[in-house]
Each structure stands twice: as structure tokens, then as C-alpha cells.
Symmetry: C2
Subunit: 250 residues, 2 copies
DNA sequence: CGGCTACTTGACGACGCTCAAGGCTTGTGG
DNA sequence: CCACAAGCCTTGAGCGTCGTCAAGTAGCCG
């Protein structure tokens, strides 16, 4: 317990200074208009921000472990997280990757139902579950938005269940690339260039495959001239339409 | 569209008479204390019930189709539904089975994101999405409970993603049996006897397997003396502990 | 009784996994 | 600046689990 705590919260550098200055950390937040907090009025956001701590988690560091008490919820401000479940023998299923604007804490139970770990260095804003829940009573718009997030999340995981249960390796990877392409476009970046922050291992555990199969399938897509693979895990989508078709099950 | 409507709502027998009698259909509802409606006060329930229609869907009849406008939400009163997604070539993933007390409509988007079909003859209470949403504004407890349902649902599908992505056939089936056993116990029935309302095909599409594999795996569990298979899809769990162990990944 | 559907079982094959080796990049220390 | 180690990724060979195809059985209903 003590060493775990040092691992998860060991690197909280700047938040207190910021608050001491009387400036809400939310004021300069990059994701405040897309994240959960977009539901808050300026005054509400001010109140909200009093409970908020900004923390930075280095790449490959654990943030939460399944089974631990659900003490905090998080907004991702910058970077990338992976959320996953483990079997006792080490088999792992990554249930999702979280990017800026995403909320970690939709499942509200006594203990965390998943583990989470930083993929790249990740900046988060954190608030205690207790405080967060308390805001509900006075801010119905927050609860509404939280429900909207949960609803969208359920739609997403339904798609992912279809992928895991019924799609081939090529279809899975094509789906993965399509999703990231769409997210890139939504973030205002080009839809045909994708930077993968995560390793082949992570992709495999997200898609229910092995590293080797992911690697082979990348090669297959490359040889079919559907993608090109640059340095630094950068993928160029050469035929977005065809990739979408494969993703949908040809 | 017209013929679909006749299929989904073609068998609506009793609701209007009931309302005419001035008796809320909720008054005699079997699931009103476990379903979403448990969040409502008697007065609220009265108001709520004015918008409610009870309908009965025969076994194997479609209720909603993915892509159709999201016009209604449902509570299952009696029976069993399957909710699923299809690929264009017919591959199917059942994302869940719904039983009495379960809510159909957690995903709130313009169109249905899944199809649903009755497994056995199913009694449902239906309300228009529009009316349902309108209740939120005046009944915060309803929204709170809806969020609770969504939260629990997300926890469930995370488990199911682990199953689909990482578990073996035997582990999947053992997990399925464990879940149904727990539900039976929660409903006050013995935990070691399970009646499967759904076909082997449905189980296969829920677990990401084929009928044949499901059948073979049932046989394997039977030969290992972990279960016995009676008539009428009745399964006796002979070693609940061992089944749970297998479900968890041995 | 015949036909239908659901389920079971067998034989075979394929897709993806396991095991293994090798290449490439990155960081570190001599 | 280079040598070396450690990861990460790729590729190959062989295997196994589960899918496919097919036949057979059992229960149900007209």
C-alpha cells in the first residue's frame, strides 16, 4: 500500500503552487471545452477546480490497479493511458486507450474494476471520487454529461465486443486504424497520418491478438499498399476507404 | 417500415384496457422494485406510468433493428431478450442477454446501435425516448439511477471484453454459467440449477465461438462431472467452485 | 409418421499462437 | 566514438485450438 501510493502519486509536481497563486488550473486547461468539465459554468468550474490536482505520470508508470479502493477520478489532459484487466496467469485485455479529454472513472463502484497505466507521459487532472460525487447534487448538468459519456462509452464497447468476438486479425487492425484516424480528424489533425503512442504488445492486447500477429498484419497491409510505416510508430493510411471496408468486414 | 412496425408492435394486447381502468400498469409490476423505476416515488411512478405501454413480444421476434431511429426505451418485465450487432456477411456478436428488471436503452443516440430480439416470449414496458428524457428534468433520482445502471453495465462489458479477447472456450462457457448462476441466486433461485432460455447458437454468438464448439465444450464439462445436462436446456452445476476457477482462468 | 429444428459428434483444415532467431533502434558505459 | 546490451519489432517454422463441413441423433409438432 505505501509503495503503491508512492508509485501512483509520486510524481505530483506543480499543482499546489498553481492553486496558491489563486489561479484555477482549469483556466489554462487545453481540454476544458471537450472534457466532462465542458458541462460546467465558469463559476461551477471555479468551485470544481478547488478540488482538482494536476499530476504528471511518466511513461509506463501505473496509475491505478484493479481492486484498489476507488478514491479518485481523472480527466486526461495530455498523453495517453491504457486501461486493462488481467487474468491470474498474466493474460491481459486492454479495454481502452484514453486520450486528452477522456474521462477515467465512469465505473463507480467501491473498487476500481480495471487497472490503468500511462503509455506516454501523461498529464491528468484528478479529483477525489467523494468530492466528485458531491458535485452531482448541485450540478445536474455534470451528471447529465457524465451519463452522456457513459452512453457513448457503451456504444464504443459494443463495437469492440463485435471486433473481439467476430472479426479477423486484418479486420481488427483495420478497425483500430480507422478509429484512430477518426479521432485524429476530430482533433483537427490529418486523418491519414496516425502516430501510435503504444507498442505492438499494447495493440495486440487491445485487439485480442498477439504481438506477432499484429506485426504480421501490419506487414500484410503494407504489402497491400494500404498503409506505409514510417519511423517513430507513424502510420500513413494510403487508402482510407479500403481500410474502412476491411474494418467493416469487407 | 410498415411491416417492421407490425412485427415489433403487432402483438400489443392488454395495455389500453388496463389504463382505461384507471389502474397504473406499474401497480402490479413484478420488477418495479428492481428495475429503473425503483428510483421513482409512488407519485412519480404514477406520472411515469401514463406514458408506458406494456407489450408482449413472441419468442424469436425482432424488437428493434440497429440503425433505426431510437424512438423507445424498454424495461424487461418477463422473459429474455438478446441484444446484438451484425456484420454485413452475417457474423453476429450478441452483446448481452436481458432479463426481468433489465433496461434496454442505455445508449442514447439518434439511432439504435444494436438490434434486439426476443429469445423467449417477453413482456416489456415501453416508453418513448422523448417522454423518458423529459422525465429527467424533473426527476433527478431517475437520472442518477440510469447512470448507476450504465456504470454497472460498463463494468460488465469490461469483463466480457476480457472473455472475448483472452479466454479459452472452456473458460468462456464456465464464465457464462457462473454469471447465470449468480443471477439465479440474486433472483432467489438455487445457484446450482440454470435454465438456459437461449439456443446453442445464441450462446456461441455471445461467447465469440461457434455452435459446435459450445456443444463440444458442454460435453467436455459434462464428462468432467462439472455439470449435468437435463431436458429443456436445464443445466445442473455439480461443482460450482471448480466452474468458477475455470471461469477465472484456472 | 414425416419433416423440422436443435443439438451432438467426427474429420479435417486454417487462422492465429508459440517458440525461436534475427534486425533495428536506443541508451549506456568504456 | 564505438561496443555492447536491452527493447521493440519483424519474420519464419511448426503447432494447436477452434472453425468448417458433414453426418447422425433426438425431440417436437403437424
Amino acid at each position: 500500500m505505501p509503495d503503491r501510493k508512492s508509485k501512483t502519486t509520486g510524481t505530483l509536481p506543480s499543482p499546489i503552487p498553481r492553486r496558491r497563486l489563486g489561479v484555477s488550473p482549469c483556466a489554462a486547461c487545453d481540454v476544458r471545452d471537450s472534457a466532462l468539465c465542458a458541462a460546467l459554468s465558469p463559476i461551477e468550474r471555479m468551485r470544481f477546480s478547488e478540488g482538482v490536482t494536476i499530476l504528471t505520470v511518466p511513461a509506463a508508470s501505473p496509475l491505478i490497479d484493479e481492486g484498489e479502493p476507488d478514491l479518485y477520478v481523472f480527466n486526461v489532459v495530455e498523453g495517453c493511458l491504457k486501461v486493462y484487466k488481467l487474468l491470474s496467469d498474466g493474460r491481459r485485455q486492454i479495454t481502452g486507450f484514453l486520450f486528452p479529454g477522456d474521462f477515467l472513472g465512469l465505473v463507480n463502484s467501491a473498487d476500481y474494476t480495471c487497472s490503468a497505466e500511462a503509455v506516454t507521459e501523461t498529464r491528468l487532472c484528478r479529483i477525489s471520487r467523494k468530492q466528485f460525487d458531491a458535485f452531482f447534487d448541485t450540478m445536474p448538468s455534470l451528471e447529465r454529461r457524465l451519463y452522456t459519456f457513459a452512453s457513448e462509452r457503451i456504444a464504443e464497447v459494443q463495437e469492440h465486443m463485435l471486433l473481439l468476438g467476430r472479426k479477423t486479425a486484418a479486420e481488427r487492425l483495420a478497425t483500430f486504424l480507422s478509429i484512430l484516424s477518426r479521432r485524429a480528424a476530430e482533433a483537427g489533425r490529418p486523418a491519414d497520418v496516425i502516430v501510435l503512442p503504444m507498442s505492438r504488445d499494447d495493440i495486440a492486447d487491445y485487439l485480442g491478438l498477439t504481438t506477432e500477429t499484429v506485426s504480421r498484419t501490419f506487414s500484410k497491409l503494407r504489402k497491400a499498399k494500404l498503409i506505409s510505416i514510417d519511423k517513430d510508430r507513424k502510420i500513413r493510411l494510403l487508402d482510407l476507404e479500403k481500410i474502412s471496408e476491411i474494418a467493416a468486414g469487407s
